[in-house]
Amino acid sequence: MAKIVSVKEAAAKITSGSSVMIGGFMTCGTPVGLVRELVKTGVGDLTVIANDTGVQGDGIGMLITADAVTHLIASHIGTNPETGKKKIEGTISVELVPQGTLVERIRCGGAGLGGFLTPTGVGTVVAEGKQHITLDGQTYLLEEPLKADFALIKAWKADRKGNLIYQKSARNFNPIMAMAAETVIVEVEEIVEVGEIDPDHVMTPHFFVDFIVKGGEIDG
């Protein structure tokens, strides 16, 4: 059963050198309280896997500003110029991955698959160094799964066991990342008793979740 912990306790679990998936799309659906607390711990040398790096100073951008990230796997960094600047300076290495390929690599990581074949990226720089496989006349790239030590995700509501419901477009990468990391920490707006969430409405079943943090009240 997932354990309810303080944001401080949760952030302290992440050690320097870890790989960390972080949910969200341009800060929408990013566990901002967890990220803020993670910056405070002074952790460094992180590999971050996320759709983007938010904007300068907000969302995952806080980790970029703090120089906590040495390697980034993302689909887009254009909304946070600081990431691009640090990439040019050489303090952060960035692997850009098409968004659909990124989320599917994470899904494969969680689903026990050894990879998948996608037409996305054929004939582009994304294809460089990758195995090409042609089936029925269509050429695909072999893309490999992604896993991480930690996933930091954001949900709307959890019950005390860790069953999760996401809200609106804040769902994005969160339920996929919940399947692909060794330790999954969720930041939620509300924690309810077991049984209060209709099993038909559960989007991430509880066993994927290791720790629950209530956002907002215990921020900062």
């Binding site: 004939g123 477009s169 994005n172």
Partner: protein, 222 residues
Amino acid sequence: MADRDRRNLIAYRIAQELKDGDVVNLGIGLPTLVCAFIPPGIDITLQSENGFIGLGPPPAKGEEDPEIVNAGGQPVTILPGGAFFDSAESFAIIRGGHVDVTVLGALEVDAYGNLASWMVPGKMVPGMGGAMDLVVGAKKVIVATLHTTRTGESKLRRECQLPLTAANQVDLVVTDMGVFQVNNGSMILLEKNPEFSVEQIRAATEAPLEISTQLKDMEIPA
């Protein structure tokens, strides 16, 4: 023609390509303008690749919901009948051929249907986001772009020089000079902005140009 009118001309023309029932993904910027010109009686469903269908107009000031944003991270609304989903499902929709039309901008587009829209080496490397999946997965790919760069160079190239978003995927290119069908090594001018002569368009187009025998004038939006 003022810059605004040129953009509206492109968006208006692309809107005429959409059919009732189409699922459509519009890129950020010029492509977004297409929404304003959807003909009456045509019901289309807009997809937002961050995870929903039923994308609606921007909310009134003060009514923004931070949990409803478009693929540019800007506040938007969701229309009745819309649906949210996660990013894996969103890109299954895109790659799986369930999006009928995608409209994207371009840095360069060429006579082989290659599109370059995501980076300028050494200058601008924002990342491809969802564009590579969209261009490969959508049934029809329409490029919406001004015909030339600010310095007057043709964006309709013989062959793209910049890193590609996808190879051989573009079907139709709509610019402020005309409507062009990609034809494996050439572009066929189907319609032209009546302000320009065919010779002016040819002079502004690096891609080998063919002229449709049914060439007609683009309709100018009111």
